[in-house]
């Protein structure tokens, strides 16, 4: 359920297979982690606002590695109070693993708490792209709105520039055997999706034509992702790994305009 971005190694299944006498292999992998970007140093306020968020999605935060981002703090060399912060994050079930964007003094303090110092060089790209509640972040739709709160539980790596950040639009039919993957965002298809075609997206999937292929929304575990289609004839529908094959889709919903979403880990199909 925790989102983990896929590294190059993930593209080679069987990489863990037997390889003679090797005890281990050294590999590089990239992971997507939620970032807690501190906007103020009042730890009580942080806890007061973070706790309800965790309560909303306890499964998401439990044992989730998180990164603390100090880049937005106004006082650049202020004492963050890492012991208290780490304590409160652990108390809420998270595993703080590192900091980024801090000053030399803050980094030293972080290291004393056994937090890794993550380079800023990776900041603009993927390495710390957010996954936590991306749909909510998208729905909030404005970075300013999100920043009004002291904690942004999830932050897409590029600042949100309008809703269409990372979304993909396909205007041609998706034919049998073709696969379309919208990494990090929504996928919208205007042409028909044929039987044997595959649509995948980290976010929502919209299809404005007959949908006869396989669709997988929330590919990286985003349970808030949804599928919207105008004419449901899909072979398989899946959200965050919860799936249904055509056989298990009620006949009265076939050929109709529907949305598909997860309701307490149960896949629900509702007419629109």
């Amino acid at each position: 359920m925790v989102s983990q971005s896929i590294s190059s190694a993930a593209g080679q299944p069987g990489a863990n297979g037997a390889k003679g006498d090797l005890a281990f292999e050294l590999k590089a992998a990239a992971f997507t982690l939620p970032v807690i970007r501190l906007l103020c140093l009042d730890m009580d306020a942080v806890e007061a606002q973070l706790a309800p968020k965790v309560e909303q999605a306890p499964g998401f935060f439990r044992n989730t590695p998180v990164v603390i981002d100090l880049g937005e703090l106004s006082a650049s060399d202020a004492d963050v109070g890492f012991p208290q912060l780490v304590g409160l994050l652990r108390g809420l079930g998270m595993i703080p693993v590192g900091v980024r964007g801090g000053s030399a003094g803050q980094n030293e303090a972080a290291q004393a708490m056994e937090l890794a110092i993550l380079g800023d060089s990776v900041k603009p790209k993927r390495a710390e792209a957010a996954a936590a509640e991306p749909s909510k972040a998208a729905r909030a739709n404005s970075a300013a709105g999100a920043k009004a709160q002291p904690i942004v539980a999830a932050q897409t790596d590029a600042p949100v520039i309008g809703v269409d950040t990372g979304s993909t639009l396909i205007e041609r039919p998706v034919r049998s055997g073709q696969r379309v993957y919208a990494a990090g965002g929504d996928l919208t298809v205007i042409g028909a999706v044929s039987s044997g075609a595959e649509l995948m997206a980290d976010g929502n999937i919209h299809v404005y034509a007959p949908l006869r292929g396989r669709v997988m929304a929330g590919l990286k575990g985003n349970e808030g992702a949804r599928i919207f289609c105008q004419d449901l004839q899909a072979e398989l529908i899946s959200i965050a790994g919860h799936y249904r094959v055509s056989e298990n889709i009620p006949a009265e919903l076939k050929g109709r305009r529907v949305q598909v979403f997860l309701d307490h880990a149960v896949l629900r199909i509702e007419p629109l």
Partner: protein
């Protein structure tokens, strides 16, 4: 430069070679310098359908390998001026086709012809991808049944992603649908997909509907492209198809189950 037309389908036995022969003959009959190439290396059939099997000396692979020049390998059709056949090799396999080799042959042929018709082998492997790689137009031959429709759909996906035009971001291949072995009677009885059913899935420019006809088998056995049997329904339908390809507005025929008259009932017309 000649226009390269690939006749393709994915599925086997739907009528690709019959269509390639008819298309090439139809284009040539209308005064176009046309060559039809058999890409089915190892399983060549086009020479039989074209009735030139006893005149094959050199073949496509010989030309690619530089063992013969094009003029030695091209077989001139005796029935129609300006029509040539480039047969496939029966003794090699499809790996003998290379992008560079095929590209060179097509370029050379293009200098002296108006249309190059490529008869694709079945499948989506090397032979089929070679046949479609350089295409400007694709005629997707489909039978009115689900497996053929799905295979055609798959082939359309490959056409839009693995062709030269797709790879160099040029204007995409023009895709046309040709529905073959269509039987209006069986459609009326619900035993066969209708034209509308097929178009709902493929939604392509419809080039023609060829009715199921005994004339096709007869023509194949005789080595005469069926378009030459102009008194048969299939021959006429192929004629219409070529006219439509060349931009004429010809109404669709043979879509309705014909009312059988007294004589045809008696004599099984």
């Amino acid at each position: 430069m000649a226009r390269v037309i690939v006749i393709t389908s994915g599925k086997g036995g739907v009528g690709k070679t019959t269509t390639a022969a008819a298309m090439a003959m139809g284009l040539a009959q209308r005064g176009n310098r046309t060559v039809v190439i058999d890409f089915d290396v190892g399983l060549r059939n086009l020479d039989l359908i074209m009735g030139c099997e006893r005149r094959v000396v050199y073949d496509f692979v010989n030309v690619i390998n530089g063992e013969a020049n094009l003029n030695q390998a091209l077989i001139r059709d005796k029935r129609c001026d300006g029509l040539y056949v480039l047969p496939a090799s029966q003794t090699r396999d499809k790996d003998a086709l290379t992008v560079e080799g095929v590209g060179q042959v097509l370029e050379d042929l293009g200098k002296s012809h108006d249309y190059i018709v490529c008869d694709s082998p079945a499948g989506i492997e090397h032979g089929a991808t070679m046949a479609m790689y350089f295409a400007d137009d694709a005629v997707v031959v489909t039978n009115p049944e689900v497996s053929s429709v799905r295979d055609s759909d798959r082939m359309l996906g490959i056409l839009s992603s693995k062709s030269r035009r797709a790879e160099s971001n040029e204007e995409p291949i023009r895709e046309h649908l040709l529905l073959t072995r269509y039987s209006p009677e069986r459609v009326a009885r619900g035993e066969m997909l209708s034209l509308e059913d097929v178009q709902e899935i493929l939604s392509l420019n419809l080039l023609g509907v060829i009715p199921e006809s005994q004339a096709v088998l007869n023509a194949s056995n005789a080595g005469v492209p069926v378009i030459l049997s102009s008194d048969s329904d299939a021959g006429q339908a192929y004629g219409d198809m070529v006219s439509r390809f060349l931009g004429e507005d010809v109404p669709m025929r043979f879509l309705e189950a014909g009312k059988k008259g007294l004589f045809s009932r008696i004599f099984g017309g």
